[in-house]
């Protein structure tokens, strides 16, 4: 043993070469496989709410009353060509004016989504404070016919982030939406 130890000390400066070829072979197999099967874009879904009425099926009368109350009180995000509002039974509140932005060389309409986030949080807090017995999940996106799909999705996404995770979509002619806004409230 003592001789072997002294032998090691004599050859201590010589490091054995590690054969990297098997490792390289392994990498050359794994990396193309992973590159071919890689998914860099993950597709997810937004579930749209069903329109449901009051029924006796399940839940009982109290739950149905709660649900109908939630339906009555549910807020609406109203998107017109010029402006975006939040509407509740109490009235409407301005959120943002339409902004023009350039996407892929063409000018498109968008809105201030940060303002919508702030307003949605305020609306949620107000509703929860005023009606603590009701859990609010539903929200309606009321929009004119020309609104771009990505604006609708942005509005749904922000509503979802603030707890309104059952969005519904209503599309109305511009004249109807504008006349509803001129009436001072959205029911």
């Amino acid at each position: 043993m003592a001789k072997a130890a002294s032998g090691r000390s004599r050859t201590g400066k010589h490091l054995p070469d590690i054969d990297m070829l098997p490792v390289m072979n392994l990498f050359c197999c794994i990396i193309p496989f992973l590159l071919f099967s890689a998914t860099f874009l993950e597709v997810v879904i937004v579930e749209m709410a069903q329109t449901e009425g009051i029924s006796n099926a399940g839940g009982g009368a109290t739950a149905n009353l709660m649900r109908s109350e939630e339906d009555r009180l549910q807020p609406k995000i109203i998107i017109t060509e010029q402006e975006m509002f939040i509407g509740t039974v109490s009235g409407t509140a301005h959120v943002s004016y339409a902004l023009q932005t350039e996407i892929n060389g063409s000018m498109v309409t968008t809105f201030s989504w940060d303002s919508l986030t702030i307003k949605m949080t305020e609306v949620r807090d107000l509703l929860t404070e005023a009606y603590p017995q009701i859990e609010f999940h539903k929200i309606t996106i009321l929009t004119v016919e020309e609104t771009r799909y990505d604006n609708i999705i942005q509005a749904i996404d922000i509503a979802n982030a603030t707890g309104f995770d059952q969005p519904g979509l209503q599309v109305a002619p511009s004249a109807s939406v504008n006349s509803a806004m001129a009436g001072g409230g959205v029911q």
Binding site: M24, A38, V43, I45, M48, Y149
Partner: protein, 180 residues
């Protein structure tokens, strides 16, 4: 593909290698693989992190750009409708063109309703019964489609019996200070 030889093969570099060889020169350069191994390791870790064993169960068309959202609900295999500003595609088959008339009138789209009802009837016949999950549908819409087109497609789905409508979006990665 033949397996590489384990015998160490010297890599001869330099413009005058033939001269060096003829003179019995000793210019043998061994390729240093360490940096390449480092790069491969980083690449491997990145790819393994982004690897999904589930695979991609929806087919994304080149003809549309999906919007981004921060939702977390994973997509499930359902009947797919793809909508852009020129065509409506059901289950991979182009069904009808998007014309100005389509954007002006009516609520549901009769041709789409018929096609979806046929599909639901086929599912009912093949499976015997339909569950709530079978009555869901995935809608892939281009970011540029108008709301009226989306609403007509969704109304058609409802009329055909597909009560659950899922809008497919690209998951937005959230980084500090905003989303990507």
């Amino acid at each position: 593909m033949s397996s590489p030889s384990k015998r160490r093969v010297p890599l001869l570099l330099g413009s005058g290698k033939s001269v060096a060889l003829s003179r019995g020169g000793d210019k043998k350069v061994v390729l240093n693989l360490t940096s390449m191994i480092d790069m491969f390791t980083i690449l491997l870790v990145f790819l393994l992190k982004s690897y999904s064993a589930d695979g991609q169960i929806v087919t994304l068309s080149d003809q549309l750009i999906l919007p981004k959202a921060r939702v977390e609900l994973r997509v499930q295999l359902k009947l797919e409708i793809q909508v852009n500003n020129s065509v409506i595609v059901v289950d991979g088959d182009p069904l009808l063109s998007v014309t100005p008339e389509l954007l002006n009138s009516g609520n549901s789209i009769p041709e789409l309703v018929t096609r979806l009802q046929d599909h639901m009837e086929y599912s009912r016949l093949t499976r015997g019964t339909l569950t709530e999950e079978d009555m869901k549908i995935n809608i892939q819409g281009d970011i540029g489609i108008p709301a009226i087109l989306l609403q007509r497609v969704m109304a058609s789905c409802s009329e055909a019996g597909y009560v659950g409508q899922n809008l497919a979006v690209i998951k937005a990665e959230i980084v500090e200070g905003g989303e990507v």
